[in-house]
Amino acid sequence: MAESGPALLIVALGVAVIASLMAFALIRVRALQKTAEKLVELALGGHADEARIQARNANRDLLPLVDALGGELSRPSIAPVLKDALMLAAVPLPALALSIYGLAQMSAPGEGAVGTAASLLVGLAFLIPISFAAGFAIVALRRCSGRIVRGCHVTLLARNVRASTEPDTADTVRRAPRDARGD
C-alpha cells in the first residue's frame, strides 16, 4: 500500500489544517469577547478615548465599535468578512487536493491505481464530514462574534443617545456611570 502513503498524508494534513482552523475560529471568538468587554468597561468607566485607540489597534472585527466609542450615533454594522471568507475557502481545499491527487494518480499508467483509489475513498470519507463541520462551525462562530460586537455596540449606543438627547447630562453619563448593562 505504498502508493496510498501520499494520499493518507494529504488526509492527515487536511484534518490537521481543518482542526486548526476550527480551533483558531474558536480562540478568535473568545479573544474578541474578552477585548470587546474590556473596551466597553473602559468606555463606560470614562476612558472612551483610550478604548477607541485600543479598538483601532485591536482585531478588525472590532472596527464597527470605533465610531460608537467616539460618541457617534452609528447603526450597528457588520464586521469585515474577509478573514472568515478566507477560512471558509480554505476548508474544502484538503478534500479538493486529495481528489486532484487521486484522480491524477489513477489516470497515470502504473500499478498504483487500486491503492490510490482505496485511499482516496477512505480520505474523502473523513474529509467530507469534517470539512462540512468546519464550514458550519466557522459560520456559526462568525455569527457568535457578530452578536458580541452588536451587544457592545448597543451598550455604547445607549450612552451616546443619552448624551445626544440630554446634552447637559452628557458629562455625568460619561464620568459617573451607572452600569449601563444594568448589572
Binding site: M22, L26, V29, R30, L73, S74, R75, P76, V114, G115, A117, A118, S119, L121, V122, L124, A125, F126, I128, P129, I130, F132, A133, A134, F136, A137, A140, L141, R143, C144, R147, R150, G151, C152, H153, V154, T155, L157, A158, V161, R162, S164, T165, E166, A180, R181, G182
Partner: protein, 503 residues
C-alpha cells in the same frame, strides 16, 4: 438515513414549537403589562435570554423608575443576551450535524474502499481486459451503495436546508431580539400610556433591523451565482452522468488506435454492442483474410477474386499462388490469421477458406474482427475494433469446457453445467438476453475458472452470416447485460470450432 431523517423532522418540529412558544409567552407578557405581579410571573415564563431583561423590566416598572431608563436597560440587556449555544457548543453541534448528514456517505465510501482492497487481494494475478469484468463484479455492489448513499445524503441535505431555513426565518437572534424589543415597547406603552421615552425611542430606531435593499440584492446575486456555478458543474460533468446512467465504462485500452484492421472498399464490418478483446499492437501481426463482396484476399498479395452470390469464385484455389508467403507469418510452424469479413457474407465461404488454410497451411487460430461503438463520457461514441478468438485446431487436451453452442437455422442449442440443454429461438427478440443469462449462470460459479475455459461451437447452419455468427459469439463473451455498448472488453473466452454432431 431514517434515523437522520427522524432527527431532522424533530429539529423542524422543535424550531416551529420554539417559535410558537416564544410568541405566546411574549404575547402573555405584553397583555399583563398593567398588572405588576402577573407581569413578573409572565416574565419568569419567558425563554432564557429574555427572562433577565423582562424580570428587571417588570421590577423597575413596579418601582416607578423612569420609563425611558427602564426601556433602555431592557434593550441593552436584550442586545447582550446570548441566543442559542456557546461557541464551543456550536463547534460540537457542527460535528454532530456533519456526522448525522454524512454518515451514509462516509459508511459507503469506506465500504467501497474495502471492496477495492478486497478485490486487489482476491484477484492479484489478473491483468488486462479480462480483469475488467471480474473487478467490476467485485466492486460494483459497493459503488451501487455509494450511489444510493449520495442520493440519501441529498435527501438529508434538503431536509437540513428546510430545517435551517425555518430556524433562520423564525428563531435567528436578530429576529428574536427585535420581537422582544417590540414586546417591551408595547408593554411599556400599556403600562405607562403617554409617558415620554426619547432615548429608548431613538435607540430603537438605531438598532432596528436594516431594511435597505442591499442585503436582499446581495443574497439574490449570491444565489444566482451559486445556482450558475452549480449548473456549470452539472454541464461539465454531464458526460459522467450520462455514462453512469447508461452503465458505460471508459476502460477500453489504447482507444486512440481506433481501427487497426483496414476493411476493403465496399466492405462493412459487423458492428456489435459488446464482447471481443482489444487488438494490441504486436511486432508481427498475423495476415488478414479479407472477405468482402468486391474483394477476397489474404494479406496484400494474394487476391482470390470476388464473391459470386455468397460463394467463393470457382478458381480461388488456383489463385493461391503466393501461399508460400504465409510461411513467414508462422510461429512454431503454426499459422494464425485475422479475419475481416463483410457483415452479410455467409459463414460457409469463410469456413471454406479457413478449413483450406487449416489443412494446407497449419492454420490453428483465427481472430474474427468486429466493430464496437464505445460511448465516451465527454465525446460522442468512438468506433473501435475488437476480435473474437476462434480456435481451429482439433483439440486433444482436456481443458475444461464451459459450454457447447450449436448454431442451427433460427435456433441455438446451449449446453452448460448449469443447464444441460437449452434451446433458444433466434427470432425471439430476447434471444441475446437469454443466451447471456445462460452463460452468465455458468460462469458465475467460478469466474476465474471460466476465463480459462473454452466454448465448443458447432455450426450446423453454415449459411448464417458473419454478423449473426459474431453476434452469437460476442453475446456469449459479453460482460454487460445492457443493450448499449458498455465499453468493457469481453470475458476473453476462447471459442473452439468443432465438427457438427451430424458429421
Amino acid at each position: 438515513m431514517y434515523l437522520a431523517l427522524a432527527a431532522e423532522i424533530l429539529l423542524f418540529g422543535y424550531a416551529l414549537f420554539a417559535y410558537l412558544r416564544e410568541r405566546s409567552t411574549i404575547r402573555a407578557f405584553v397583555l399583563h403589562a398593567n398588572d405588576g405581579e402577573r407581569l413578573r410571573q409572565h416574565a419568569g415564563r419567558l425563554p432564557g435570554p429574555f427572562r433577565g431583561p423582562a424580570l428587571q423590566f417588570a421590577g423597575d416598572l413596579q418601582r416607578k423608575t423612569p420609563l425611558d431608563e427602564i426601556l433602555c436597560q431592557a434593550m441593552i440587556k436584550t442586545a447582550n443576551a446570548t441566543f442559542g449555544m456557546a461557541p464551543a457548543a456550536r463547534v460540537l453541534l457542527a460535528l454532530a450535524l456533519a456526522s448525522l448528514l454524512f454518515a451514509p456517505i462516509a459508511a459507503a465510501l469506506i465500504e467501497a474502499a474495502s471492496a477495492v482492497v478486497r478485490m486487489r487481494l482476491e484477484l492479484p494475478s489478473i491483468r488486462g481486459p479480462a480483469g475488467f469484468p471480474l473487478a467490476r463484479d467485485a466492486i460494483d455492489p459497493a459503488f451501487h451503495h455509494l450511489y444510493a448513499a449520495f442520493r440519501s445524503c441529498v435527501v438529508l441535505m434538503i431536509g437540513a436546508i428546510l430545517v435551517a431555513g425555518a430556524h433562520w426565518l423564525l428563531n435567528r437572534s436578530e429576529v428574536r431580539e427585535a420581537r422582544f424589543i417590540q414586546a417591551l415597547v408595547e408593554a411599556a406603552m400599556l403600562a405607562r400610556p403617554g409617558a415620554a421615552a426619547p432615548v429608548s425611542g431613538r435607540l430603537t430606531e438605531l438598532i432596528a433591523p436594516d431594511r435597505r435593499l442591499i442585503a436582499p440584492i446581495a443574497a439574490f446575486a449570491f444565489f444566482i451565482l451559486s445556482a450558475g456555478a452549480g449548473w456549470v458543474v452539472l454541464y461539465l460533468t454531464a458526460g459522467v452522468k450520462t455514462a453512469n446512467a447508461l452503465g458505460v465504462f471508459e476502460v477500453w485500452p489504447n482507444v486512440d488506435r481506433r481501427e487497426p484492421v483496414a476493411p476493403a472498399p465496399g466492405m462493412i464490418l459487423p458492428t456489435l454492442s459488446g464482447g471481443g478483446s482489444p487488438i494490441y499492437p504486436i511486432a508481427r501481426p498475423p495476415p488478414t483474410l479479407t472477405v468482402g463482396p468486391e474483394k477476397i484476399a489474404i494479406g496484400n498479395t494474394i487476391e482470390l477474386g470476388i464473391l459470386d452470390h455468397d460463394h467463393l469464385p470457382p478458381d480461388w484455389k488456383t489463385k493461391i499462388i503466393g501461399i508460400k508467403n504465409l510461411e513467414s507469418f508462422k510461429d512454431k510452424n503454426q499459422l494464425e490469421i485475422t479475419v475481416a469479413a463483410d457483415r452479410a457474407v455467409s459463414m460457409s465461404a469463410i469456413l471454406e477458406l479457413l478449413e483450406y488454410l487449416r489443412a494446407n497451411c497449419a492454420l490453428t487460430r483465427a481472430y474474427l474482427v468486429l466493430r464496437r461503438n464505445l460511448v465516451r463520457m465527454h465525446r460522442s461514441a468512438v468506433a473501435t475494433q475488437a476480435v473474437i478468438e476462434l480456435d481451429l485446431a482439433r483439440r486433444t487436451d482436456v481443458e475444461p469446457k464451459l459450454a457447447r453452442l450449436s448454431i442451427e437455422p433460427s435456433t441455438l442449442l446451449v449446453s452448460t453445467a448449469v443447464e444441460p440443454s437449452k434451446s433458444i429461438k433466434t427470432i425471439d427478440p430476447s434471444w441475446r438476453r437469454q443466451l447471456w443469462r445462460t452463460i452468465q449462470a455458468a460462469t458465475a460459479k467460478s469466474p476465474r475458472d471460466a476465463r480459462a475455459s473454452w466454448i465448443a461451437v458447432s455450426l450446423e447452419d453454415r449459411d448464417v452470416t458473419y454478423e449473426k455468427f459474431l453476434e452469437i459469439l460476442t453475446t456469449v463473451d459479453d460482460t454487460c447485460a445492457e443493450v448499449v455498448d458498455c465499453g468493457v472488453p469481453g470475458r476473453g473466452l476462447k471459442f473452439q470450432l468443432v465438427e457438427s454432431e451430424a458429421d
